[in-house]
């Protein structure tokens, strides 16, 4: 890379992600982003000025050696780059797609101070896809067996990253999953058009090759309790990564009308159960063809739901959010994609009541306009109702995407664990240790609903503490 000066590097524009045409993609479930070509990837990698003290690495919750892998990309050693990423991240093809890089590594990128940051996420995705497409996902080296057994509850991002770390350290790892498919939110929550399920399967298979054992259809708490795993089944440590799996509703009248879904149910039907292929697949979802759909909420899940509804053939698909667009927690990229696909954004508006017919079918929602007042506890300006601004929006389907609480099954069946008032497990932040000996926890069940990469970071942190715990115990 010696041939370019930093000045020259910074003159190269940030390379755009090739993507499907918005008016074609809003009628199919194929991936929106098509991925960099080799040419685009190398050009983008040349933009990295190789800072002596790279800020981007600090911005990454799992500490991927970003500068080093990008250098390898610029040199054309894509497989070397893949190996470099995997020293710190077991799911690069997933993270390259769904991480909010603009708030993490790319937010810290020095190139981004004056111009646009290096497209780290796009490069990560390119490298992972290149490896998978050319030689297949290669596995890293595994240490000799320690004879210690770890049970991991939940096969979502935190569980998979914890499993990957621990199996490399020579421990025997079993992942328990309640559903019939592996990947947690990566398969039931995030849609095919943002994260093809084939990629999740490939990443899971790579972990299987490393020696991780996966057991589906296992609802820990019911099928086995945590105590039984540790006493009867002989696990030396347990990691709880069950996610935030209990949807919030708004507790407004009419919420139980037919056609009102939680985002979890709507997305699970479409993603996990493949209702978008009904009747080829047996699970149905409300038929929105030619109908009007409103999604309530402003996060990534809301964007996933509204874009899914559009793809299922909705005549109109709208986001209804009580604050304004700048306060929306969704990734900017997702909002842009949604707008390009024809999604309507109804901002500063709050639902008061769902309206239905005598047979219980939804046909509208009573809305109220809001305006922004003083900042609230979250630092965002609080939405305040505008008196007399109520109106009715005709809709045939509603999706509530205002977040998730914590699932009560583990809490009810594990009395020794300590939970906070929201039902999140209390852990020591440095080690992810819970109040029960040998039991660790991480991801959304600890933090409440957050991101894939934060969950992965927690899984990794816990894995290191579990390794210390297992070896310390001797």
């Amino acid at each position: 890379m010696a041939e370019l000066s930093n000045k020259e590097r910074m003159k190269i524009p940030r390379q755009p992600m090739p993507e499907q045409n918005p008016f074609e993609r809003n009628r199919n479930f194929l991936e929106v982003n098509l991925g960099f070509t080799e040419e685009l990837a190398r050009l983008e990698a040349e933009r990295c000025i190789q800072c002596p003290k790279p800020k981007c690495v600090e911005g990454c919750p799992v500490g991927v050696q970003i500068k080093d892998f990008i250098k390898l990309v610029a040199e054309g050693d894509y497989l070397g780059a893949a190996a470099k990423i995997k020293e710190d991240n077991v799911l690069p093809a997933v993270c390259g797609r769904v991480c909010p890089q603009e708030q993490q590594c790319e937010a810290a990128c020095v190139t981004g101070v004056k111009g646009e940051p290096v497209a780290i996420g796009r490069l990560e995705r390119f490298v992972a896809d290149y490896e998978r497409a050319t030689v297949g996902i290669r596995t890293v080296e595994v240490k000799p067996p320690t004879g210690k057994k770890v049970a991991i509850i939940g096969s979502g991002p935190s569980g998979l990253s914890c499993a990957g770390e621990l199996v490399q350290k020579g421990h025997s790892v079993t992942v328990f999953e309640a559903l019939h498919e592996l990947g947690g939110v990566l398969v039931y929550g995030i849609p095919e058009f943002r994260l093809p399920k084939e990629i999740v399967r490939a990443e899971v298979e790579a972990l299987e090759k490393l020696g991780v054992e996966f057991r589906t259809n296992s609802v820990i708490g019911f099928t086995d309790t945590i105590d039984e795993l540790m006493t009867v089944e002989g696990y030396d440590a347990v990691f709880i990564g069950v996610g935030a799996g209990l949807p919030y509703f708004m507790n407004i009248p009419g919420e139980n009308h037919n056609g009102v879904y939680s985002a979890n149910e709507f997305l699970t039907r479409v993603n996990l159960m493949k209702a978008y292929k009904f009747p080829e697949y047996d699970t149905p979802v409300f038929d929105v063809r030619g109908k009007n759909v409103a999604v309530f909420g402003g996060g990534n899940t809301a964007m996933d739901a509204v874009r899914t509804a559009k793809r299922l053939g909705a005549a109109t698909a709208s986001i209804v959010y009580r604050r304004s667009e700048v306060e929306m927690p969704a990734r900017v990229e997702e909002v842009h994609h949604a707008k390009a696909e024809g999604i309507q954004f109804v901002m500063l508006t709050n639902p008061l009541e769902f309206l239905g017919d005598d047979a219980g079918w939804l046909h509208g929602v009573k809305l109220q306009k809001m305006e922004l007042g003083e900042p609230d506890a979250s630092g965002r300006r609080r939405p305040v109702p505008v008196e007399g601004s109520e109106y009715v929006m005709p809709i045939d389907m509603a999706v509530i995407a205002i977040g998730n609480g914590s699932n009560p099954i583990i809490q009810k069946t594990t009395p020794e664990l300590q939970f906070n008032k929201w039902g999140n497990i209390i852990v020591e932040p440095e080690t992810m240790k819970t109040s029960k000996k040998g039991v660790f926890a991480g991801g959304d069940i600890v933090t409440g609903g957050a991101t894939v990469i934060l969950a992965m970071g927690a899984g990794r942190k816990a894995a290191r503490a579990i390794d210390d715990f297992l070896l310390g115990e001797g």
Binding site: T216, P247, F249, S262, N407
Partner: protein, 287 residues
């Protein structure tokens, strides 16, 4: 994969499966359910565990073929497999010594009432069972109920066997005869459970029903199975499936169960057409 040790029809369209699932067999308590799936493209279907054998490592489920999936399940035979069986899910039945406990099962609901009736008997209750069916051939588990109950009454809608009428008529007769009833469990079609609740409400008899809403995951994750009990929204899969019959909003339950009526109808039609085609082709081959 979960092997079917034994499969047999109990009545037209109602089939009993004994499935190898040692973990669930060892764990399950009366009132709990499993979710099953039979193919990679299949639905997740919740079914109450009717019985289990720890020695054989098996659970028993009883399936009524109504929609495409349940009809497909009922084509499975001994030594076939269920692709997925997960459980035991839901809260166990609340069992105590009430005194005289009446378990009412309508149609395939009898299969769901059976394990709880057994648990009520084991807890020292004087156990009465009322089994209802459309006709004599739709009455199931009469012998099994006779084994575990002190008294068994059978009703048929057409009078072809036992009491001529609905289960509520038989229940009313018992009450009218001056029997003191301390607890009623009612499981069956929604209108039946609703009707039983209305009978017992007048006499202040504690009554429990087991709800059967549409479910997906069965672990509280989707909220599809929500019902209203005592004015509050509940998730049947984790808060139930059994609830106080006098608090359940049966009208809402009925409406919500119609959500996929059109899709279910279409799927079934297509399924029957493809079966017809298969039969037609099989016939052609024979000729």
């Amino acid at each position: 994969m979960f092997r079917i040790v034994k499969a047999e029809f109990l009545a037209p369209e109602i089939k009993r499966f004994e499935i190898l699932a040692p973990k669930i067999a060892a764990k399950r308590k009366a009132g709990q359910f499993v979710i099953v799936r039979i193919s990679a493209k299949g639905e997740r279907i919740p079914l109450t565990i009717a019985d289990s054998s720890i020695d054989r490592g098996t659970i028993t489920i009883i399936v009524q073929g109504i929609g495409k999936t349940t009809k497909e399940i009922n084509t499975l035979q001994t030594d076939d497999f269920f692709l997925d069986v997960v459980g035991p899910l839901g809260l166990p039945s609340h069992i105590e010594k009430f005194g005289t406990a009446v378990s009412i099962g309508g149609g395939v609901g009898t299969a769901i009432a059976f394990p709880t009736a057994k648990a009520l008997k084991d807890a020292g209750n004087h156990t009465i069972s009322i089994i209802g069916g459309k006709t004599k051939e739709h009455v199931i588990l009469e012998d099994e109920m006779n084994e575990i109950c002190d008294e068994v009454y059978v009703t048929t809608d057409d009078g072809s066997y036992g009491y001529h009428g609905f289960v509520t008529g038989q229940l009313q007769e018992l009450i009218d005869s001056g029997r003191k009833i301390d607890f009623v469990l009612a499981i069956g079609p929604i209108p039946m459970m609703n009707a039983v609740a209305e009978v017992t409400r007048k006499y202040g008899i504690k009554t429990v029903v087991s709800l059967n809403p549409v479910m997906v995951d069965g672990t509280g994750m989707c909220g599809g199975c929500r019902a209203v009990v005592g004015g509050k929204t509940v998730f049947v899969c984790v808060d139930g499936p059994e609830f106080d019959a006098h608090e359940v909003d049966f009208r809402l339950l009925m409406k919500r169960n119609n959500t996929y009526r059109n899709e279910e109808h279409d799927a079934l039609e297509r399924h029957i057409c493809s079966l017809d085609k298969m039969y037609a082709e099989a016939l052609k081959e024979e000729i």
